[in-house]
């Protein structure tokens, strides 16, 4: 039934999109958590610089961002030459490249909510944890992270959805190669370009419904626990 409703290309592209979004969100959380923590807690003057930088990837149109990334990761760019020295394939036109592009493009949506959430945790709860013998890492994971849960959810949701819908960077950097770098959003775009509106609609609605259900699950899970302040 599924096979008759979706073309094989559609299914492959959906799978690639989901994989891309999941990998991107996971890596972004890994990367942005320490950055956001630093931004939220530092008193250094560099903080303002860091905060401003963190929003910059948004300012460029995605295709242009993709273009510069292509130059960078291509065989003549620094990134590409580095990969070459390491004996690796260049990342352009590969899934890895898509991940890098999506990460760069969605980074602000993870950093900013995380930073705000960490900021709201404040210092008192961490001081309490310190007096209870928790080492810095320990208190980060057992106090700061759980109390900043909403920030993690907001950031993950925004980045996940944004990566699913992302198109410019992926098209430019990935080259729209079926089965490898062709994501669902590109396929939808292709359907529209080919004036195949029913195909576009089918896939759009699939994405929307799938995402909606996913978000419902995430938010329902979050609903059950509601706390307000870090220490009470």
């Amino acid at each position: 039934m599924i096979a008759s409703f979706y073309s094989p290309d559609d299914l492959v592209a959906l799978w690639i999109s989901l994989k891309l979004a999941a990998v991107t969100v996971a890596l972004l959380l890994l990367l942005c958590t320490p950055l956001a923590w630093w931004l939220a807690t530092t008193r250094s003057r560099l903080r303002v610089l860091g905060e401003a930088m963190a929003a910059l990837p948004l300012v460029l149109p995605p295709t242009v961002l993709g273009f510069y990334l292509l130059l960078f990761l291509g065989p003549y760019g620094w990134g590409g030459r580095l990969m070459h020295h390491l004996g690796l394939q260049p990342l352009s036109f590969s899934f890895g490249g898509l991940v890098i592009g999506s990460m760069l493009y969605s980074m602000p949506f993870v950093i900013q909510p995380l930073q705000a959430a960490f900021h709201a945790v404040g210092t008192r709860a961490l001081e309490v944890a310190a007096t209870l013998r928790a080492r810095p890492w320990d208190r980060f994971f057992t106090v700061a992270v759980p109390l900043a849960r909403r920030g993690f959810i907001t950031g993950s949701v925004l980045a996940f959805a944004h990566t699913l819908g992302e198109f410019g960077v992926v098209l430019m950097l990935g080259g729209n190669i079926p089965g490898r770098t062709q994501t669902a959003s590109i396929v939808i775009f292709n359907h529209v370009e080919a004036l195949d509106y029913s195909g576009a609609q089918r896939l759009s609605i699939t994405l929307l419904v799938a995402c909606f259900i996913l978000l419902l699950i995430v938010y329902s899970a979050n609903r059950s626990r509601a706390e307000v302040a870090a220490v009470a």
Binding site: L70, L71, P75, S92, F93, P178
Partner: protein, 234 residues
């Protein structure tokens, strides 16, 4: 063992090639992986090492340039289709057969593709310039510019513009055209030659050559291209 051929195809030819591809795949036993995009994007990507084997461009400049830079295989380039520009409206009685409607000015907006990037946009600009209307329409902000010819078509199809310069291939279905249209004289614009070229970095040169030969000479292919509203170079 079946091989896969990576074909970068201009967006306006994507739908046509999608219909032809199964026929080639059946005939040759190999698979075509079609990537659609704009010609400018493909040019950039090919310079940056994109893993395409064949480029079916929407113009002839980019393939020529690639050939000159040694990225396109010398001698492999040929014109696989020639496009026809049409001024089209989905409604009947909007566009007359002589294009007088353009001079009347009794319209809200016209859609075109971006003349700087899209060959059909360049052609539309040439037609409008030849008619002496280009400057005026621009000044009056009566031109809605799409990224490519598909967007120009969408502008018109959704009724947001009264008419649009589009490709004949987009509006003709087995030589029948719905709505009203005007075919500007071929003399008013440079022919819309769409060239194909094999890319030097391909590792499947034989298959690429087979595919291009099929596209150029196979009766089924030629019929399909023509049916989509293109001419074939004589």
């Amino acid at each position: 063992r079946a091989e896969e051929l990576n074909v970068a195809v201009a967006a306006n030819f994507f739908a046509t090639l999608q219909k032809l591809a199964p026929k080639f795949e059946q005939a040759s036993g190999n698979k075509l992986l079609l990537s659609s995009g704009s010609s400018g994007q493909f040019y950039t990507q090919i310079r940056e090492g994109a893993p395409f084997d064949v480029l079916l461009s929407a113009d002839s400049d980019r393939p020529k340039q690639l050939e000159a830079e040694g990225l396109g295989l010398a001698g492999s380039r040929f014109t696989y289709a020639i496009g026809t520009l049409v001024l089209w409206s989905p409604k009947p009685d909007v566009v007359d057969r002589d294009g007088k409607v353009l001079r009347g000015g009794a319209f809200h907006m016209i859609g075109i593709a971006d003349p700087r990037n899209a060959p059909y946009g360049t052609a539309a600009q040439q037609v409008l310039t030849a008619l002496g209307l280009w400057q005026q329409l621009n000044q009056d902000k009566k031109l809605a510019v799409g990224e490519n010819i598909n967007q120009a078509w969408q502008f018109a199809a959704t009724g947001n513009v009264d008419m649009a310069f589009v490709a004949l291939s987009q509006v003709s279905d087995r030589n029948a055209i719905s709505g009203s249209y005007w075919l500007p004289p071929q003399a008013l614009y440079t022919p819309l030659q769409q060239d194909a070229v094999i890319l030097t970095r391909t590792s499947k040169r034989a298959l690429a050559e087979t595919f291009l030969k099929w596209l150029r000479a196979d009766p089924q292919a030629i019929a399909g291209i023509k049916a989509a509203g293109y001419h074939i170079a004589e």
